[in-house]
Symmetry: C2
Subunit: 465 residues, 2 copies
């Protein structure tokens, strides 16, 4: 998952409920209940994540491994019996990471655990050396005296707070995404940030950043939480702290990747679709188990469960393994554009991209007249420990470009308390995943997608943005 | 801490207690009680570890940073007011680590998190490529069919179990120390082991290994726990798994390091000494906070507390920041040899080298006639949550060479439940340490050292080995 705006939460429109919305049928509820309690698919989601992380591993968009991931997803959709499987290409600037090393030069020489932020320029032929200047936050940098960082390396020290819903990420990630731009505007020669991380393991966390068009690109990297503490302790001695960054990274040329799409074709309204999915790409440091092998495995498994039912749902269920989410929802934006003409037929969308914790809440952004149908869905989900919450939440990141074109969304909110312990690090590996938790999520997605596709009613529209 | 034999546990000699052992005086007990409850030194141990990890950082024996660590320790002993501060040199073969990279070549290419074991040879100008062959343990490798590993890379998959007393380490570390020798004997071209680790973070754990004199040295490395799982999952597909190791490491020439010694000179029997300490060197991957900045900080702080008392204890208390423990108790062996003639005056020794967890037990290896004195010491320690255990335990690693020459030992056993989560990794950093836990340990060492030095009785001898 990358930066996810919550600005869309207001899309949960207010308005009176209407009595003319047809409720879900007893048969539909009964089928969904069976889906929920179905155990024949136990372990399917985990098996998919195991397969993806073992047989492909890290799969940053545009790499050779990304190509293998696309082939993997296509083959899995086919093996699971999806009615229609296809890929849809899109292109984007290719970012490459080479070596990366950091160290303190003075007053206390020692190595630093660093990683370049996605999209960062490298340090060139000569490593970058400079004095660091610490700021508690991006806002503090923006308020700095003119000249305060001229020729220096800005160090943003903000800590990311731990919350079940991961909102601490939203509070600190601006330093990652915009720090280099703000530092460069003020004459700094580089940026380091405390990793956007909720734990204290010595893994630097990567993640996307961007340069504003009018600033000189400067190298931007994250240090691990312990390294950030170390630098702060050094700065506490009162002497200048000089570091060296040796980063090989660049954005060069264009790459192509693909959204991989598996359709369960609806029996009555095949052109109307309920979209679920996760994103197929990962950062390059870990094996992308939590981010977002889990989401791909969960939603593929949910589709597989629906495929085992006696008949197809009324509408189509579309499972999408989104391409290049990490570098800016590239695949999702391409999909939304390519399918703009069919967006009115996209009745509901949800994405699993928040790790492997259990789902604890259903939230949605739909026309309020359709709350009664969501209440029926929520009643089926309740025995899974899932509450119906009428406020808050937002769509998964890859769903955003579709919601911006009017598609209603649902969210199966997961417990992400430890998500930012591992997110975007080398430590995002399979061992962090509990297979039974994935089963709970797969069941929840199966119920949601099936009932949304089976409903006589749709969910209205949300205001296009 | 490196491989620590428990074979010495039997040195706790049996025998009848005798009535002619003078007990500790009421004044001594009263002073020790004040030491225990003294809060003026709160935070001293943590401050020392913070200083060592911040101002020196990683300090592998023989490196430039090791030289800085020696200067640091000397300066700290002096600043704390020790009566006599000196260094004692010793030499050893110098091992150097350069770059290290691992990857799976086929069937599923992806990177591996690896680190060379201490003492390993590098892979030379050309990276080593080969098929891996997995064994559950060193014993299974030793039982393998002739030819089973010829030309291949042996992979020892044994897991290290978590125990409060860390004994899981003793059960698995043989694969690290002797794996390369046993693999080479059988014609293997390299060794990888599952890290001797109790957690599932993606840090490979280094640590010492040795080649038997008669075998061809082959590169030896550890992979992290998640990487070991990954390789096992790949092997489960039934195809050969080929990896590449690119390791720059070598043992070349001799280096010099130092034991740094701070004495508190006894008021009556200055030539009789009670030895406490930790080891000053660390591995190069982390900042050596737990291993063994903590032990150095704890025992220096204990000495500082004793120095604040109105008068010196009867005997001398010697705090030793041992040099080059990691590569084979090199400093301790040199000390034992250089001081062989005074070993009969070393009345008791203890080392803190098991991280930063609280002390929960006092154990000892002394002539059994002196148990009553230890019982008195234990009574003072009890309010710190420390039980007196009459069986088990063993001396800290650097104390072993002295115990082998007859010195009685004590052990302030720490809770090491999470010690092997961080041990010998890049993740051994200051944030893993709780300052209050260090205070408890420093108080315990102060009480033990003071009362052992103040006792009219000594603790006899243990059988020399």
């Amino acid at each position: 998952m990358r930066l996810c705006t919550l600005a869309l939460a207001s899309l949960c429109m207010a308005g009176p409920a209407r009595a003319d919305i047809p409720p879900l049928s007893e048969v539909a509820i009964s089928t969904a209940t069976a889906l929920r309690d179905e155990h024949s698919t136990a372990g399917v989601a985990y098996g998919l994540v195991e397969s993806l992380t073992t047989e492909v591993g890290p799969r940053m968009a545009g790499t050779e491994a990304d190509v293998r991931a696309v082939a993997w997803a296509r083959a899995k959709f086919e093996a699971l019996g999806f009615d229609s499987v296809r890929v849809e290409p899109f292109s984007f600037p290719y970012w490459r990471r080479g070596h990366e090393r950091g160290e303190v030069l003075s007053p206390f020489p020692q190595p630093l655990a660093v990683t370049a932020l996605g999209g960062s320029e490298g340090t060139g032929d000569t490593p970058l050396e400079g004095e660091i200047v610490a700021f508690d936050s991006l806002a503090e940098l923006q308020a700095a005296e003119p000249g305060a960082v001229e020729g220096k390396i800005v160090f943003i020290t903000q800590r990311t707070q731990r919350f079940k819903d991961g909102r601490g990420y939203g509070l600190s990630v601006i330093g990652r995404s915009s720090g280099a731009t703000e530092a460069s505007k003020r004459g700094a020669v580089g940026l380091i940030i405390r990793s956007i991380s909720t734990n204290s393991d010595r893994f630097p966390h990567t993640g996307m950043m961007r340069y504003a068009p009018d600033v000189k690109p400067i190298p931007a990297a994250a240090v691990s939480n312990p390294d950030a503490d170390l630098l702060i302790n050094m700065l506490g001695r009162g002497e200048p702290v000089r570091i060296r960054l040796d980063i090989d990274a660049e954005t060069r040329g264009e790459a192509v990747s693909y959204n991989v799409i598996g359709d369960i074709v609806g029996r009555e309204r095949p052109d109307e679709v309920v979209v679920i999915g996760g994103h197929l790409d990962s950062w390059d440091l870990g094996t992308g188990a939590l981010d977002d092998g889990a989401g791909v495995g969960i939603t593929m498994a949910a589709g597989a469960a629906i495929l085992k039912q006696e008949q197809r749902p009324r509408r189509s269920v579309r499972v999408i393994a989104w391409g290049n989410e990490e570098q800016g929802l590239i695949g999702a934006r391409a999909y939304a554009e390519a399918h703009a003409g069919q967006m009115s037929k996209h009745v509901l969308g949800a994405e699993s991209d928040f790790g492997a914790g259990r789902v604890y809440a259903l939230r949605a952004g739909v026309d309020a007249r359709y709350w009664p149908v969501l209440e029926q869905i929520a009643a089926v989900l309740a025995p899974l420990g899932i509450a119906f919450e009428r406020e808050g939440g937002g769509p998964g990141p890859d769903v955003i470009p579709l919601v911006q074109r009017g598609m209603p969304w649902a969210q199966l909110a997961q417990d992400g308390s430890d998500y930012f312990d591992y997110h975007h690090t080398a430590n995002d590996t399979l061992d962090k995943i509990d297979s039974e938790a994935l089963d709970q999520q797969a069941a929840a997605y199966a119920v949601l997608a099936f009932l949304a596709a089976e409903a006589e009613a749709d969910f209205g529209r949300v205001p296009a943005q």
